[in-house]
Amino acid sequence: MRKETDTVGGVSRRSFLRTGALAGVGGAAAAAGLGAAPASAQGSPEIVWDVETDVIVIGAGASGLPASIAARDEGAEVIVVEHHFDIGGIAIMSGGNIAIGGGNRLQIAAGQDDSPDQVFARITRPVEERFADRELTRRYVDEQVATFDFLEANGVNFDRHGTDVPREGGPGVNSPTQVRPHEWPIRVAVASHDQGRNGSGIVRPLELSARNKGVQFLLSHTLTDIYREQPFAGSVIGVRVEEVDRWFQPIHRTLNIRARKGVILCSGGHGHNVAYRTMFDPRLTEEYQWHGQHTAVANGIPSIAAIKIGAALGSTGNETQEGTGNAPDKGRWAVQDNYVRGAQTPESATFFRHRATGLVAAWAECILVKENGLRFWDETDGSDDGYFAHALEPTGVPGKLLGGGPVWAIFDAETVARRGYGTGYPDVDRAGGYFFSGETLEELAGQLHNNAYQLRPMPADALRETVERFNSFVDVGVDADFGRANLQFKIQTPPFYAAWSTPVLHDSYTGLRADTNCQVVDMARRPIPGLYVAGESLGGIKQHGLGRCITTGRIAGMECVRAS
């Protein structure tokens, strides 16, 4: 243990530190749900450093692992602080398709013509990426080939899968050339029966490489505060972290870690923090779940801690822009985190939090109703922004003027038989309130209030009339209400089912504002000494996923050490 006792400008640094630390907590901390204030704010005279290192990386996911290795490669001592009991972030459950091009080794081998200029052009299109920070994006594309080499040098193996042809971005994902590594052979950390887990082939080799190089990991600890020398000035000097249990809940043991060179925030998105995300879109109230929320946290607390010491947000327009990736996902059924690609099976080490695998949705074999028992859109229309706009429209729950409440897929025993759905563990989450059955529609409607987000009982007569009306549309093949064309199946054979089908959120495109070195800047666009950011915690680059996170992680790790 070490105590800071030197003086700065005639004033004991302790009091500076205390003031600085105080600036980082208080009312804002409570508002953001941080709970307890740091020891210093509770009257302790100084920060007691429990641990000391050169660089602290917050988060061990797609951006944190490369950041830690890059900082270590520059000669720094590194501690990675991770909230979850395992490394990987949501990257471990990802498909592992990395949008990273510019003329990498695989592209050259495949005869693909690509260059940083071409990548830049693809991800700064005048309409789709109009809010991109082009300076930061330029640095990002210029580092892609080197980052690809860095991944290979640190054990990520791409050989079997090769690379895709460069393509224009699809509607959900702006993806230039993609490469994909092997899935990590040991599947326990994240397991799923219906999708590749190639993201494990990124994070596991990187973890191994980081550990071999001497990076230290502090798992099951969460950052709550960042210490800066003065409230809004001076260097970032360390962090306060708190130990958490396997449910991510604090167990009230804290540590102060001093960073001699800097702190790099690689803590993922903020989409699971309702207060935070509703700054950008006030409709995104509690009922909307966040992809990967049971694998890794994405509560924006590190960003909030940075804002409290003066950091600014960047490219906030990206966050609410429709159409290119940050819109909600229509989702799977019958599971709380119902992101379509996020299914987990019981072998998964985090299944106790996920609780169910969920069902692959059958949009043409259901109706979707809101909490009031009424349909609101053509169920078979997937990508139209209109679907989400209407799903997010309030339904008249007294006092609830924002957010559309739960959306339920209603179907019958015939759908279950045709699709081979399981209606118990581990397929659906009945105990948690995400799947219900009833022998009549009345009985089904009577169950639904057992869901935490169904704020009032669903009126049984409304559900019955909705189903009867829909069935009459099936008779004639015309949906007089929403123009749905595909009307092949009635909902009539008991038992009847209701499965959670509420839109689920993914991707944060707004994060802290940074310069081209991924160094966080303040409201006056002055770099904050010792504070860096990468991945979904970083604002400015309008591109989905891993390519952005890995590359900016590497940039931040390098630059943090080089600057000091």
Partner: protein
């Protein structure tokens, strides 16, 4: 009187009772139970007393549930979890509809050789009428004018009362009874107490789109049953089919058959088999042929049916919009 001299026992409701419970049906009272001695209280005698102090039921406490943060059932996703030891006691609700204020009473007693004080917990609840609701299924559409067919009608009491032998009937849009049957003895497969029957109906002689309904008939189900909720169902009546239309769906690029494509011709529906073929019997007339298949686009086409006919439909495969799709679909 000697003051209580044993260990105290504290009883509290672990979760609020539902707004109302079905009359005459036992409901669970979840009680957080803490004994000052730390003794295992399972097996201690209890009584449920009504407003007059009369004993409604009595028994021995079931095993105490002790949830920990490591338990399988521990689930803090929707807020903090009450980890106090608890028991669940089944309370027989009165068969009448009303509001009640009863008491759970534990007499003073020696548990594990240690004397415990008496304890009690008052609780209020209301009872409600049972709701009977219906379902109609295997309801074919379209039907040929004047044809006869079976549908299934089932009825369910919210409290699971056996409804075998009760009468259900179908009424047409004018309110005339067009079918009647008694519910059978065994619930519909996959349900606990949906009693059901097949019911023979005759389609109207006029073409059209009909909406009929099913309801409970016969003498009212005695109290505590409320008025049963009827249910509507609908179907289309067409001219008699005269022609066989064979539809073959093929991939526009490869010519390969497209199986399990959904086909619609006006009110008529079918699906292709593995060979990409569906055969439908149709009355003469003009139809709009629609085909639905995931990841295919098929243009609607007009089809005039005046004879048996074979139709080939070219379905255009559309590229998946999601660039990851091929990774997680396989």
């Amino acid at each position: 009187m000697v003051p209580p001299s044993g260990f105290p026992i504290r009883l509290e409701l672990k979760r609020p009772l539902p707004e109302s419970v079905d009359a005459g049906v036992p409901f669970a009272l979840a009680v957080a139970i803490e004994s000052g001695s730390g003794c295992d209280i399972a097996g201690a005698p209890f009584a449920i007393l009504d407003e007059t102090g009369a004993t409604v039921t009595a028994g021995e406490l079931p095993p105490v549930t002790r949830l920990t943060t490591d338990s399988e059932q521990y689930d803090p996703r929707h807020g903090s979890v009450d980890l106090r030891p608890s028991v669940e006691i089944m309370v027989p609700a009165p068969a009448s509809v009303g509001s009640f204020a009863w008491t759970l009473a534990l007499p003073s007693n020696a548990i594990d050789g240690i004397w415990h004080n008496a304890a009690s917990l008052g609780f209020r609840f209301a009872t409600r009428e049972h709701l009977t609701s219906l379902a109609v299924w295997d309801n074919p559409t379209p039907l040929a004018v004047g044809s006869s067919h079976d549908i299934k009608v089932g009825a369910k009491c919210s409290a699971g009362c056996p409804l075998a032998g009760e009468t259900v009937e179908v009424i047409d849009a004018e309110g005339a009874v067009v079918g009647r049957a008694q519910l059978g003895a065994t619930p519909w497969p996959g349900t606990a107490s949906l009693y059901w029957t097949s019911l023979l109906l005759r389609a109207p002689d006029q073409e059209g789109h009909y909406r009929w309904s099913a309801r409970m008939a016969g003498p009212a189900l005695g109290l505590p049953h409320g008025t049963p909720v009827p249910t509507a169902f609908s179907f289309v009546v067409t001219k008699r089919a005269e022609h066989q239309v064979a539809i073959s769906v093929v991939d526009a690029d490869s010519g390969a058959p497209v199986g399990n494509a959904q086909i619609r011709l006006g009110p008529f529906r079918a699906a292709t088999n593995r060979a990409g073929l569906a055969t439908i019997a149709l009355p003469p007339g003009d139809f709009n042929l629609k085909v639905f298949k995931d990841n295919y686009e098929v243009r609607d086409q007009a089809l005039a049916v005046s004879d048996d006919v074979n139709v080939v439909v070219a379905a255009q495969a559309i590229p998946e919009e999601d660039p990851y799709a091929r990774y997680w679909k396989t």
